[in-house]
């Protein structure tokens, strides 16, 4: 069957432009998905340093029950910008714009995304919006948390409007990325790359793209309304003039719950690549993993009001939102069981990347389980708005998304630089991170249960001990992240040369040189199977010249 399907070359798929030569066109205003991916990562990691510093300010403030480091006003600004940074300037850009851009087009055998110029625009909006967000400090930053509930956010300082504008812009960027990725995956797969042969990281991006496209529009509308009310006095959220404060909550969570899945589905994809590679085993239950991602994305649109169980939601609505939220545990459970089963009977190479992926299984699972607790309305009535929520969301976003990002960083770093990150430093970083993370956030579960509300600059002195524990461990976690940063910078010049495929991985990005060349593929390959059969020959044709010194094909003349 194979021979006829082989791509002959010279068709539309081989249409290529010459590589730009000037520094600005090559590295600054690049339209190459790989450069854009790296730009996203560098920018997002810079914002992560800022967001991390804010996080440490929070932990230092909370070492004393009476606060002490900052005034409540400053503290409120700090945690609001910390949350906004980590969600919109770090996790989402890293997983979609960063790793998404860098990897998935190569994994489907494409030369670039469908709309490279749009991709460049998506990226360049992001640092501008990020700077706007930080500029809000100069005007008096927002203080009502990353959720900015009105009427509180209506009383906020002038920077709150700036915040709304900045997040709106980020939303525009996200929406464009979503469209771009969706079209790329739908239209630009290499011959033979059917949906059931796509690597699971591509599945992660494929399911995330529509979420970015659809959900972000609701956030945009909410932010526009907030901005208009703050600046021009139109009473969207003012009950005295016929508005409703709950309107914001509905619109905000209609975005922000799917956004939770935007922040985790690509990480699921990463884990689904890393575990089989380092276990030398096919991913267990490929179809169920792909299918469960779709189920999570669809259910993810139907559960937003579980953030509002105490807000005055009609009882008739609480019930379906509770049950639908609990249902998400089923596809998520299927994924976790499949990952665990992937480990069974493998030949496990315990690299740093693999350690982060295995750490992810432990911590994300805990965050997922407490998520089911919170889905139960009666328990949520107690835990909502407390440190239990803070613990839960950090277990999902740090123990889930960030662990996935770190696993992905160690895994795909050679594809960016041609060098490996240092494994010894990496393993130190893993253990410090794992211990620091759990030590920081595990005590927050009982702190919340016992009565510490979130978003407070001072608290009941009886909780001081556990807060100090959390703070000390947070320093360990920060040290681990600094170690990762040092490792990444040091390895850029001094890391071991990786060769094209240091991990013996089977997806397409590992079959071309590291760093990946401008065209990705000299000839677009043909695909014959999913990439997880480690005992079989590679299921690709047309890659013969990729690693040879053969010159790239002559670009089409214009």
């Amino acid at each position: 069957m194979a021979a006829t399907a082989v791509h002959a070359g010279g068709g539309l798929a081989d249409h290529i432009h010459p590589e730009p030569q000037g520094f600005v066109r090559k590295y600054v205003f690049s339209i190459d998905h790989k450069i854009i991916g790296i730009q996203y990562m560098i920018t997002a990691f810079l914002f992560m340093i800022l967001g991390g510093m804010l996080a440490e300010l929070i932990r230092v403030q909370l070492m004393k029950a009476s606060g002490g480091l900052m005034t409540p006003e400053t503290y409120n600004e700090v945690y609001s910008i910390h949350g906004s940074t980590m969600v919109w300037l770090v996790i989402i850009p890293l997983l979609t714009g960063g790793f998404g851009n860098l990897i998935f087009p190569v994994q489907i055998g494409a030369r670039d995304v469908a709309f490279p110029w749009l991709n460049m625009l998506s990226f360049w909006i992001f640092p501008v919006a990020g700077l706007m967000l930080y500029a809000s400090f100069l005007m008096g930053a927002p203080t009502a948390g990353w959720t900015e509930y009105p009427p509180m956010s209506l009383q906020g300082q002038a920077g709150t409007s700036m915040w709304a504008a900045a997040i709106f812009l980020i939303g525009v960027s996200s929406t464009m990325t979503g469209i771009n990725f969706l079209v790329t995956i739908l239209k630009m797969r290499a011959p033979g790359m059917t949906y059931t042969r796509m690597p699971l990281f591509v599945w992660g991006q494929f399911v995330t793209a529509p979420l970015l496209m659809i959900a972000t529009t609701a956030l945009g509308a909410a932010l526009a309304a907030l901005f208009v009310q703050r600046e021009f006095g139109v009473a969207f959220f003012d009950p005295a003039r016929g508005g409703s404060p709950l309107l914001w909550q509905h619109m905000f969570w209609f975005y922000s719950h799917p956004a939770v899945y935007i922040m985790i589905l690509p990480a699921f994809g990463m884990i689904s690549e890393i575990l089989p590679t380092f276990s030398r085993k096919p991913i267990f239950g490929y179809k169920m993993i792909a299918f469960s991602s779709c189920a999570i994305a669809i259910l993810g649109f139907m559960v937003w009001a579980h953030h509002m169980f105490t807000s005055g939601l009609a009882p008739a609505l609480q019930l379906p939102f509770m049950v639908l939220t609990m249902l998400i545990a089923i596809p998520t459970g299927v994924k976790i069981f499949s990952w665990v089963a992937t480990l069974w009977g493998g030949v496990i190479h315990m690299t740093t990347s693999m350690m982060f992926a295995i750490g992810f299984l432990a911590t994300f699972t805990l965050g997922g389980i407490t998520g089911v607790f919170l889905a139960a309305v009666p328990f949520d009535l107690h835990a909502h708005g407390t440190y239990f929520i803070v613990a839960h969301l950090h277990y999902v976003l740090v123990g889930g998304s960030l662990m996935g990002i770190l696993a992905g960083l160690f895994y795909w770093y050679p594809k960016m630089t041609g060098r490996l990150m240092n494994e010894t430093l990496g393993k130190w970083a893993f253990w410090l991170f794992f211990i620091g993370f759990n030590g920081t956030f595990l005590p927050m579960h009982w702190l919340g249960m016992w009565g510490q509300p979130r978003r407070v600059a001072m608290y009941d002195p009886q909780f001081q001990g556990w807060n100090q524990v959390a703070s000390w461990f947070s320093f360990v976690m920060t040290a681990a992240l600094i170690l990762v940063l040092i490792n990444a910078l040091w390895s850029m010049r001094n890391g071991k040369r990786s060769g094209h495929n240091p991990w013996n991985a089977r997806t397409l990005e590992w079959q071309i040189p590291s760093p990946m060349p401008y065209y990705n593929f000299k000839h677009v390959p043909s695909v014959f199977a999913a990439p997880y059969d480690f005992a079989e020959p590679l299921p690709y044709r047309g890659l013969e010249e990729e690693l040879t010194g053969a010159p790239p094909p002559v670009p089409a003349a214009h």
């Binding site: 709950l246 169920m288 459970g333 107690h382």
Partner: protein, 375 residues
């Protein structure tokens, strides 16, 4: 490159789980069982007393969730740890060694979808039952209103004028708390009750329960409400926020005392500070006209106790016999303006608010200027 041969459809090897696997499984099962026992007997109430009937039910649900969740987590982490160690590549393993090439197992996948589904259904049923108990009002209840302010709480009781700063509830008496807010969104959480409702301006949320344990319990705000959000709990001296569950006799005494103390209080909701009218420059003549058309049907131009519907207003701002207005506030022009804005409801009858009387802000300023001229 060798040509690609399509793989056979059913190519997975037959798998036999070894003895080691079953031993590990048994150990994990024991650990999971111990964790379940732990959550059944965990002394939650040492840390957090259960002050109302609903708290016991919610704790029962929490024990169930925590037991199930911990057991599941022990199994997942146990297997992850065991597989990671048992299948770790050894120094002698050849570089190109591969694991057992197994792709899926329909039976296994079927069961690990069905078993969690059963647990989710159980969880849902358990949660819904308790949720139903929380949502349905017990009937014959004492209705108390709780109002959030930046940054304190006030409470209203039936037949008690005005707002009080302490919440007292009688033991064993079903209670309905209506929560709302005078400014931004607050949240009304009593950890000992395991219950919480947001206080949303323009909206009344409801909590229903029966107090079961006397004592003094903290109220904590869990919705960010501005600069001193962290102060809205009992940990600070400025704004003590407690609910007291009293034995019926104690409660009756408190209630009688409060009713007496508040006899002269106004039920008018205090106007937000931003709405405070500037009273300078009022036109007393225009106010006199306004008084004749809008006020004189209910208020005489006689002494305070000469009532038509409301009290007489001659010299109201100067009357030594009535140095106070109805709510215990000083009889000042500002406080008079507040009543004109917000209306009044209480021991002395009712007066419509500004909108009800169709008064503009300027009308109020003029009326106050006119009242000042009545000595």
């Amino acid at each position: 490159m060798e040509s690609y041969e399509p793989l056979p459809e059913n190519r997975d090897p037959v798998v036999h789980l070894d003895r080691q696997f079953w031993i590990v499984t048994a150990v994990l099962a024991v650990l999971a069982l111990l964790s379940i026992l732990f959550w059944i007997w965990a002394p939650i109430t040492i840390f957090m007393p259960e002050a109302v009937d609903k708290a016991q039910e919610i704790d029962a649900l929490f024990r169930f969730l925590a037991a199930t969740g911990t057991a599941l987590w022990i199994f997942i982490c146990g297997y992850v740890l065991y597989f990671s160690l048992a299948f770790r590549r050894h120094a002698g393993t050849p570089e190109n060694a591969v694991g057992i090439q197994i792709h899926d197992n329909n039976k296994l996948e079927f069961w690990w979808t069905v078993v969690p589904t059963v647990f989710v259904v159980l969880m849902a049923i358990f949660s819904i039952r308790i949720w139903y108990g929380i949502e349905v009002a017990p009937g014959n209840t004492l209705v108390v209103e709780a109002i959030g302010h930046q940054w304190y709480y006030t409470f209203r009781y039936p037949n008690v004028n005005g707002e009080v700063k302490e919440m007292h509830l009688p033991l064993g008496q079903p209670v309905t708390v209506h929560v709302t807010s005078a400014d931004v969104i607050h949240s009304f959480w009593i950890p000992a009750m395991r219950l919480k409702q947001d206080m949303v301006p323009g909206l009344i949320n409801t909590m229903e329960f029966t107090p079961t344990r006397p004592g003094k319990y903290e109220i904590i705000c869990t919705e960010f409400c501005g600069m001193f959000h962290g102060d809205m709990h009992s940990g600070t001296k400025e704004n003590p926020a407690y609910v007291y569950i009293d034995r019926p006799a104690q409660y009756a005494a408190w209630y009688a005392r409060t009713e007496r103390q508040q006899a002269n209080a106004s039920n008018a909701v205090a106007a937000p500070a931003s709405n405070q009218l500037k009273l300078a420059g009022g036109d007393a003549a225009a106010g006199a006209k306004m008084f004749a058309t809008k006020c004189s049907a209910c208020h005489a131009l006689g002494p305070f106790d000469q009532r038509i519907v409301g009290p007489g207003l001659k010299g109201v701002l100067y009357d030594p016999a009535h140095p106070q207005l109805v709510d215990g506030d000083k009889a000042t022009p500002d406080n008079v303006a507040k009543i004109l804005q917000n209306g009044f409801k209480g021991s002395m009858g009712q007066m419509p608010n500004q909108a009800g009387n169709a008064l503009s802000n300027k009308d109020i300023v003029d009326l106050v200027a006119y009242l000042k001229t009545l000595r």
